[in-house]
Symmetry: C2
Subunit: 655 residues, 2 copies
């Protein structure tokens, strides 16, 4: 069924472009992360995150509900939402990518093989539950089958039936690419075929699902099977948005067509999954208008609606984008899933256009907005990722709590993190047929293509602890030049590069340092990025952080946590920007971090006995030189909320 | 049935304390607003607001649903919520207070009588619908009677049955006090008696309604009927909160008992109605602990959780208070109803304690947070009252839109404004038995008590346009001293007072200027408040407005609207605080306002071509002296959103 060659470990990844794709870049032929920062995070994901999935899906009722739909269990339906099946599918996708990993993460091979066999067994068991729950005509959604008497497609705004189908398809594609297994792909294809009989021009339903996801999944199914009608159906769904067919709400991505939109809007995850699908389509069809819309909307989102962490979404209540420059700190919505969706969209845009800035946003979002969503031990999660927790914060629990939780009632985020980390190597490099582009700096081994001949480069780095990345050419056609392109991060004040110890004269253009050489095996390229800690300020239209700076170091956003600042809260802290930032390597702290220290003071509370907190401008402040000095210790934002509860802030007042 | 003397026009008002009350102050024996700012706003309420109620309640389905419950109509239930009956009751309360007005607002007496007769007819008609819908045992809620097959009290968190009962009782008390009519009081008493058979210690349900309201209503019913068991039931309900009986959520006021609470929390209206009831109880019973809790929570709310406008509530999604100092501008929730609830609570605290600061907050909230909720023509409404609308704001409609609306799906606010304005004269003055306290400055005629003898004072003022208020002693026992107490607003930088043209030496203490004299009829007291426009800044912990000032003048908060600042938006505006503010009387604008002008500039957009809005601190800014100067024209906040759509802001960056 697959037109791709039988998958081999290390090549199975998302966004495997079709043979006629119009994208500038293509995914690297093979990639493996080995060592360094990401191997640690991925090992936690592989050993603590993914293996706990079946237990959690059982205790949350997802697997029980599948059995109910299959008629093999009795009792009440346990899910709270119509999209609970998607948690199962996303876990299957994560586990499938994990099964595709060749690197034993430095472990004992026999132990690794045992873990893999156990995981494969769990995957097969759960695929069996999914297959059993499917209806004879291919339809599958436990909520509607069990609680709605089989009524279908009655509530496309909220029903999530095609959304769930999309995640089923993504899981099936991942499982097939990673293992060659066909059972889940058979289930997914039957569902896709069923959808194709119901939805489309002149068919029973000329509408779409209010939560995009099936669109990008159908493009992947087209890539995996070669069946053009899946691509056509994806195109139909994308094009149908924005014309009021589904009520005209921004929430459902139905207020304005993408090709006419001026900025991102509505539910953040819905918007970004739709945009990822649009980029997929532009990659496959070469449509200029859809590409232009993607580029325009991406610039508008990053310039006006993105938090420093790469997180997006301003409002808790509708989980949506706010107005331009409406970027609240303590109520930053910044759903972990939205950050992941942003990466998925940016990666497709990077492939489509070849431009480096998409890698900039991916890096920022990955290290900050996504990674904060999972605890350092891989076992607890955040659904929202705020940039501030106030002194005296009353945590009222629930999915949108600022306290890490083992699972959520709406558990979309945990398996989403799992699937991203388990396939992360595929976001690191690409090829354009004339060499290798390095979008992210992660130790590992990456294979590109130079006019049909493989080029293999290994990378070694402790990044983002240190800024040095060493590349070694492992395999090269020695008779022709090809280009090793290194993304120079947009935050970088400067860089230095050497080839075989000799400084290179090449300058970066459009964010790429392009090293075109006739390479020989063993050639070494060293890139030095300047990780000096820096203070960052925001566009003055971002009212929420006026008069504040943030500490950054390399790709990492930093924050203060209360636990590091005894003797008071954080809401009275002021940073002294005239004093230098210093860094300290702390292998003992939070799994090993570089902390950044700054000078600060603690403002005396103004007239705390008074009942009214507003007063004549210019009065009531305390003299800064009388405030007690407080040394500030900042930690990487991704590591917050891993110790005791307390206040936190990214943006620090300067006066 | 009533122990109060037969009501006379001008004496019927809310919070008519019982005979054994322990409050420091009592409502004035009679009060009438005549002339000035509030007569205009109240005339609009009387002629445009209240009369449209029956039509809107008909078109929204509320009256239809009453007929359904009575069995006199057929069709579908039309309300979207279980609390739709309360809209009818709040309108009945508003209309009843209006019927109690004696002042013809300067109109032709025959015309006024005709309007009053028409209104009385509508009130009687709707009371008939309410009475017909009541069940034989006294229960009444159309939602549960019609759509839930008569199931009762199954969902106290969200069912609002006692909440609706509370508004029914409030309406009945108002109708009885204003007109002497007993029909609605009979209906309400039957419902109250039914509730008393079901709820209480050892009874079928030992719980309470998740939305407080019945508590304060039952205290009023006690006051109106003299039946102590209504007071006892109110006490039971208040005491039952905060012990986890109803799930323990802050939203339902069940996380912590009031007597142990450190700050206001949860759903803002629910919290404030509960606190109003607690103050009612403390007034009637003299309980020191409940009084102390009220004082503590009021200070905490005003010091940490109140917007400059007096508006409260930080979050749209749960309509709740946020953390201390979490006071967002564009997503300020500030429900009109919450501002009204705040006034109701503060007024009870003022009576309980006699302290002036409650009048300070009432004044601020009334002129800003409440009045912005109704358009100048009295015909359209705001549910939320934000402090900022951004350039490029996409208004997505719905109840929480920033665009004024004729009615809401959840139409709690419009009749709430109507009932407050129709009874406003009762929040102006009080008596302590030794004179008259003036809490608010409104032209009119107010009656206090001096050792059992009436004292009558008239007030004349164009406040808040001008700061002069002239009081004339109309009636006084000429043989003994009594005290005229004038609240000196907390925002006032200074004041001057004269008695019979002679400057008074008396100084204000605790917010009161107390003038103890042996007064003679015709004695004139003049108070001059300094209304010089001023710049106000916030406690630095209010992150949302760091580096900003607001313009205020007297009790009015000002704002900029885009329509007054052509040539660009408001998000790039900077105010020059080194230049003076000037005021201009504009009788032609917005029904007559004093505008305040300031010097400003429009910041050049920083590197608008760039995709990332964060940059190295200290870089990227434009030179202020190159920015174009923009004269700023501020209008009173209450008058915003009465012209064309556009951006708005209260807080203005200073750099």
């Amino acid at each position: 069924m697959s037109r791709t060659s039988p998958t081999t470990a290390g090549t199975a990844g998302p966004v495997l472009l079709g043979p006629g794709a119009h994208a500038t870049l293509r995914p690297a032929a093979a990639a493996a992360i080995e060592g360094g920062f990401w191997q640690v995070r991925r090992a936690v994901n592989a050993r603590a995150g993914i293996p706990q999935g079946p237990r959690l899906l059982e205790s949350a009722g997802n697997l029980h509900d599948l059995r109910l739909a299959a008629g093999t269990a009795e009792g009440d339906f346990r899910g709270d939402y119509p999209f609970m099946d998607s948690d199962v599918y996303k876990w299957l996708e994560a586990a499938s990518w994990q099964l595709g990993q060749s690197a034993p993460d430095g472990r004992d091979a026999a132990e690794a093989d045992g873990e893999r066999a156990a995981l494969a067994g769990e995957v097969d068991r759960i695929i069996g539950l999914v297959a059993a729950a499917q209806q004879p005509d291919g339809y599958l959604n436990t909520w509607f089958q069990v609680t709605k008497g089989g009524a279908r497609y009655q509530d496309l705004r909220w029903g999530h039936e095609l959304y769930c189908a999309g995640h089923l398809i993504q899981a099936a594609v991942a499982h097939h690419r990673s293992t060659g297994g066909k059972e889940l792909l058979r289930v997914a294809t039957r569902f896709a075929d069923h959808i194709d009989t119901v939805f489309g021009p002149g068919k029973a339903i000329e509408s779409f699902d209010g939560h995009p996801e099936v669109e990008t999944a159908l493009v992947e199914l087209y890539r995996e099977t070669g069946e053009r009608r899946y691509l056509d159906l994806a195109q139909y769904f994308v094009d149908r948005h924005g014309h009021g067919v589904l009520g005209g709400e921004a929430y459902c991505q139905d207020r304005v067509p993408l090709r006419a939109a001026e900025n991102v809007e509505g539910h953040a995850v819905r918007q970004l999954y739709l945009l990822a699908a649009a980029a997929d389509l532009a990659c496959e069809t070469g449509e200029a208008e859809l590409r232009a819309a993607g580029e325009r909307l991406w610039r508008a989102m990053t310039a006006t609606k993105t938090h420093l962490t790469g997180g997006v979404g301003a409002h808790h209540d509708k989980e949506d984008f706010g107005d331009p420059f409406e970027l609240p700190t303590e109520r930053a919505y910044c759903e972990t899933c939205a950050a992941i969706a942003s990466i998925q969209w940016s990666w497709r845009m990077a492939l489509l256009t070849g431009e480096a800035r998409y890698g900039d946003l991916i890096e920022r979002t990955l290290f900050n907005g996504v990674l904060s969503g999972v605890s350092l031990d891989g076992e607890t999660w955040l659904y929202v990722n705020p940039l501030q927790i106030r002194d005296g914060h009353t945590d009222l629990g629930g999915d949108k709590s600022a306290r890490r939780t083992e699972w959520f009632r709406c558990a979309c985020c945990p398996p989403n993190v799992m699937r991203l980390l388990a396939s992360l190597e595929h976001y690191v490099t690409s090829t354009d047929g004339a060499g290798l582009q390095v979008h992210q700096y992660a130790s590992g081994r990456y294979t590109g293509d130079a006019a049909g001949r493989p080029v293999v480069v290994s990378a070694h780095t402790t990044y983002p602890a240190a800024g040095t990345v060493t590349f070694t050419v492992e395999e090269t056609p020695g008779d022709r030049p090809w280009t090793l392109s290194l993304r120079i991060p947009h935050w970088s004040a400067g860089f230095a590069a050497r080839v075989a110890g000799e400084p290179v004269e090449d300058t970066a253009a459009d964010g790429w340092l392009r090293l075109e050489r006739v390479w020989a095996p063993g050639d070494e390229v060293t890139l030095e990025l300047d990780l000096t800690p820096r203070l960052t300020s925001a566009d003055p239209r971002v009212d929420a952080v006026r008069g504040c700076v943030a500490i950054e170091r390399g790709p990492l956003v930093y924050c203060l946590e209360q636990v590091d600042h005894p003797g008071g809260g954080l809401d009275d802290i002021v940073i002294d920007t005239s004093r230098p930032l210093t860094e300290q390597d702390r292998p003992d702290l939070l799994g090993g971090v570089v902390t950044v220290r700054a000078a600060g003071r603690r403002r005396a509370a103004p007239d705390s006995g008074h009942w009214w907190p507003y007063r004549a401008a210019g009065r009531g402040g305390t003299a800064p030189d009388e405030d007690p000095a407080v040394p500030l210790t900042a930690i990487p934002y991704y590591a917050w909320a891993n110790r005791q509860d307390g206040s936190m802030r990214v943006w620090l007042p300067t006066g």
